[in-house]
């Protein structure tokens, strides 16, 4: 620690070079922070909160619906605390570009999602209003909807009994999520399954999926098996999995984000290695006489080696932390600007740890050769400029 000021002034001996290198390092880790957060978000399926909930959907295909008559059997399965159901509606508001998830749900749906914050009087109003809808706060804000407004949702799959695509819904209240990582879930609208079931032309007594709250998270596999056994060999076989696994399997079908991120970051870090390696070897080459003076003053070989190594690690960590800090600032701005469409979590701990270990590793790798060279300097030769 006592040599810190020495290392610091060595680092900024050539200001231009250090600043330019730092900026490159910052750019690399800014990209790393952004991309790795995306990867973590995709692979963890959004949240850990869904671990004690199962999603029961058709085994045959995502578009296949399940009979409502499964409800009592699922509720009676040992290990099930509560169950609810929902059905995809897929309506659009004005223009298909304004896409947001919307589906019909059972009346007790929100009991399974205690993390959705709702004012009790609004929940009550919704439960008594046949065409009532609950809207996520961000979604309501973006479209300027207020409580009591009629939302003219247009059906794309399920027309009304008279063939019309208009499904006017009355906004009864809003829900919000306090967890900033899950703000994206405020971008949805739900209304009554009962209304949906009675009024639509095609389906009767069918739900899209069941949600099951478990007594005990550890029993997830056992309960899932028991539920799937109910409908085995029927034409509506089910597949039960944790909410997390369900979201993950969906995300994975979009793209292999992990592979893309790894490929890009490999290209970036390879370049970075070369770039900083070049900077460090230049820095040592320029300073040969000075290093020789240090050695003359009595600095041991080991100390000189450490000095150069620490300098290179410091350079990378400094740039890396600034870069990832920038990413941490940019991510919420990006999420906010996209109006909930793009929902990135803050940089997760996992990314910070990975980032910091990468910084250390890169710092040591690029510092190693110049540091060895500095260590092996012969004082006489170096001072004579040979």
């Amino acid at each position: 620690m006592k040599y810190f000021s020495l290392i610091w002034s060595a680092l900024f001996r050539s200001k231009t070079r250090t600043f330019l290198t730092l900026l490159s390092v910052i750019a690399a880790f800014l990209l790393f922070g952004l991309l790795d957060s995306v990867r973590v978000a995709f692979n963890s399926g959004g949240s850990v909160a869904g671990a004690d909930r199962l999603v029961v959907a058709s085994r045959l295909s995502i578009t296949q619906m399940l009979p409502y008559s499964l409800t009592p059997q699922i509720a009676a399965t040992p290990g099930v605390k509560k169950s609810a159901y929902a059905a995809w509606f897929g309506g659009i508001y004005r223009d298909p570009k304004n896409f947001f998830p919307n589906f019909s749900v059972s009346e007790n749906y929100f009991e399974l999602y205690p993390e959705f914050v709702i004012k009790p009087e609004e929940l009550k109003a919704w439960q008594t209003e046949r065409t009532g809808a609950m809207v996520g706060e961000s979604l309501a804000k973006r479209n300027g909807w207020k409580i009591g407004d009629t939302i003219p949702l247009q059906a794309t799959i399920f027309p009304q009994k008279d063939g019309s695509n208009a499904w006017p819904l009355k906004m009864s209240g809003t829900f919000k999520l306090n967890d900033s990582k899950r703000k994206g879930e405020e971008n949805q609208l739900v209304f009554h399954w009962k209304y949906f079931d009675e009024a639509n032309q095609y389906t009767n007594g069918m739900v899209g999926w069941y949600i099951v709250k478990l007594d005990n998270v550890d029993h997830a596999t056992r309960v899932a098996k028991a539920i799937d056994a109910i409908s085995q060999n029927s034409d509506h076989e089910t597949k039960s999995q944790t909410e997390q696994a369900f979201q993950q399997s969906f995300a994975k079908q979009f793209a292999d984000i992990g592979l893309i991120v790894t490929a890009i970051m490999a290209a970036v870090f390879f370049t970075l290695l070369l770039l900083t390696g070049n900077t460090m070897s230049q820095a040592v080459r320029d300073r040969i006489p000075e290093l020789a003076v240090l050695k003359t003053l009595g600095f041991t070989n080991g100390t000189v080696l450490t000095l150069v190594l620490v300098e290179s690690v410091l350079l990378i960590v400094l740039g890396g932390v600034i870069g990832m800090g920038l990413a941490a600032v940019i991510i919420p701005v990006l999420s906010a600007a996209s109006g909930g469409l793009l929902n990135l979590p803050n940089i997760p701990v996992e990314t910070w740890t990975l980032g910091l270990s990468l910084m250390l590793a890169i710092g040591i790798v690029v510092g190693a050769l110049p540091a060895l060279r500095a260590m092996r300097l012969k004082i006489v030769d170096a001072l004579a400029g040979r």
Binding site: A155, T156, P159, D235, F254, A255
Partner: protein
């Protein structure tokens, strides 16, 4: 001191203008710039001096390989990632755009946007057949194929996890409507038995779709009897006879009707006729429009992402190039000062450093483009398309993409070289000669 500030501000301004022009410049514009530069280098005195100065710099490049490779590799990284990302978007949109054509139309229930959402009643099909604009076959029957598409779960070849595949039921006319589809292995399915043919993309994407194998779909066993190739989005699908599919899934209505139309005029005729018939609350669009619309969202997203990622990497590469070129100028300070002392003026010195950087940038761009092409061209991936099912597509590294990659490379070289070049031109001659 003040003058230097003014100069720097001015050069940054020029740089910004130059970059904007550079980005929007079409290929013949670039060619004109290149020719003008070549002529200037060959014909004018300053040009020849610049060329001579550049030659000295380039000749000493091998001595500085370590440092110079920072520019080449840095720029190759930017161009490689950029081209690969854009090639993904291009491949996806090309696959979907090829799927459609202007002389076939797809008819869906009004407001349904995608096949998965649509329902067409059986009694509507003969009505549709009577509408004007639809092509007739030799026997005078309208060419149209009512179709059903069912999303089914199939295990992927790579991980064995379930993914959504599209299982399409077609009628006989479907083959005539889509002449690009050819059976490349086995035979077509027979009507009335549970047989299916698979697209070549689907065959690679999912497990157990080899000819002769049994697949379990919708609780029934189906035999794979053939493989077809279409070179478009249908490659990701499984096809069978529509009535067989309808009975297996207990579907009493159809989902879409695809019809051959008599060109653009025929389509307009059909569209007007449909709008004026109150019995048909249907939407009709050409299949080209329909499939192009499905690709725009994702293509745009990939393009934005690719440009942002490439942009951040480019910023990093610019600083790397600046660093290298500053070091190169500093390392050759004596040489440059000597040249200035014997009469080389500012312009040739600036041009010499710029030419050297641009050469390195060009090498980097070529290397990056080549790697992207060699690794990713034709690389096959899948994503979820508009019908909740997987679309298999190939990366497409087109010449246009390689060209824009090169433009990025030269742009980075331009910024990375300009400031070091200006410093070289402003080097105080006496001091530089005395130093070292």
């Amino acid at each position: 001191m003040k003058k230097k500030w003014l100069w720097n501000a001015l050069s940054i301004l020029f740089l910004v203008i130059g970059l904007v022009v550079w980005i929007i410049l079409p290929w013949y514009g670039v060619a004109a710039v290149a020719v003008a530069l070549g002529l200037w280098l060959m014909l004018t005195r300053t040009g020849r001096l610049a060329l001579a100065a550049a030659r000295i710099g380039i000749a000493s490049l091998p001595q500085r390989w370590g440092a110079s490779s920072v520019i080449i590799v840095g720029i190759a990284g930017v161009v490689g990632v950029l081209v690969a990302m854009l090639a993904m978007g291009e491949g996806f949109s090309a696959t979907l755009q090829q799927t459609g054509s202007d002389d076939t139309a797809i008819i869906l229930r009004g407001g349904s946007q995608a096949e998965t959402n649509s329902v067409i009643m059986r009694n509507q099909v003969p009505l549709i057949g009577t509408l004007p604009g639809i092509r007739k076959d030799a026997a005078g029957k309208p060419i149209l194929s009512p179709e059903l598409s069912q999303v089914v779960n199939l295990p992927t070849a790579s991980s064995g996890e379930d993914a959504n595949a599209q299982f399409r039921g077609v009628s006989e006319a479907a083959w005539a409507i889509r002449p690009q589809i050819k059976i490349i292995e086995g035979r077509k399915f027979n009507v009335g038995v549970r047989e299916l043919v698979v697209g070549q993309g689907a065959k690679g994407q999912y497990r157990g779709l080899e000819i002769g194998k049994q697949v379990k779909l919708g609780n029934q066993s189906w035999t794979v009897v053939g493989v077809f190739a279409s070179g478009d989005a249908h490659d990701s699908e499984l096809w069978t006879d529509i009535e067989t599919l309808a009975s297996a899934y207990d579907r009493r209505a159809y989902q879409s009707v695809t019809a051959g139309v008599n060109g653009k005029a025929g389509f307009t005729e059909l569209k007007n006729a449909m709008a004026s018939d109150p019995r048909l609350k249907l939407d009709v669009s050409t299949t080209r429009d329909y499939y192009t619309k499905q690709s725009t969202g994702l293509t745009k997203l990939i393009k934005i992402l690719g440009t942002v990622i490439g942009g951040i990497m480019a910023i990093g590469a610019i600083f790397g190039a600046l660093n290298t070129m500053y070091a190169a100028v500093a390392g050759r300070a004596r040489e440059i000062a000597t040249m200035r002392a014997i009469g080389f003026r500012g312009t040739p010195v600036v041009m010499a450093v710029m030419l050297e950087t641009m050469l390195l940038a060009l090498l980097g761009g070529l290397l990056g483009g080549f790697i992207a092409w060699a690794v990713f061209n034709g690389y096959s991936v899948a994503t979820l398309g508009a019908n909740f099912s997987q679309v298999v597509f190939q990366f497409k590294v087109s010449p246009e993409l390689l060209w824009s990659g090169l433009k990025w490379a030269l742009g980075i070289g331009l910024i990375g070289g300009l400031f070091p070049a200006l410093r070289a031109a402003r080097l105080p001659v006496t001091e530089a000669l005395r130093a070292a």
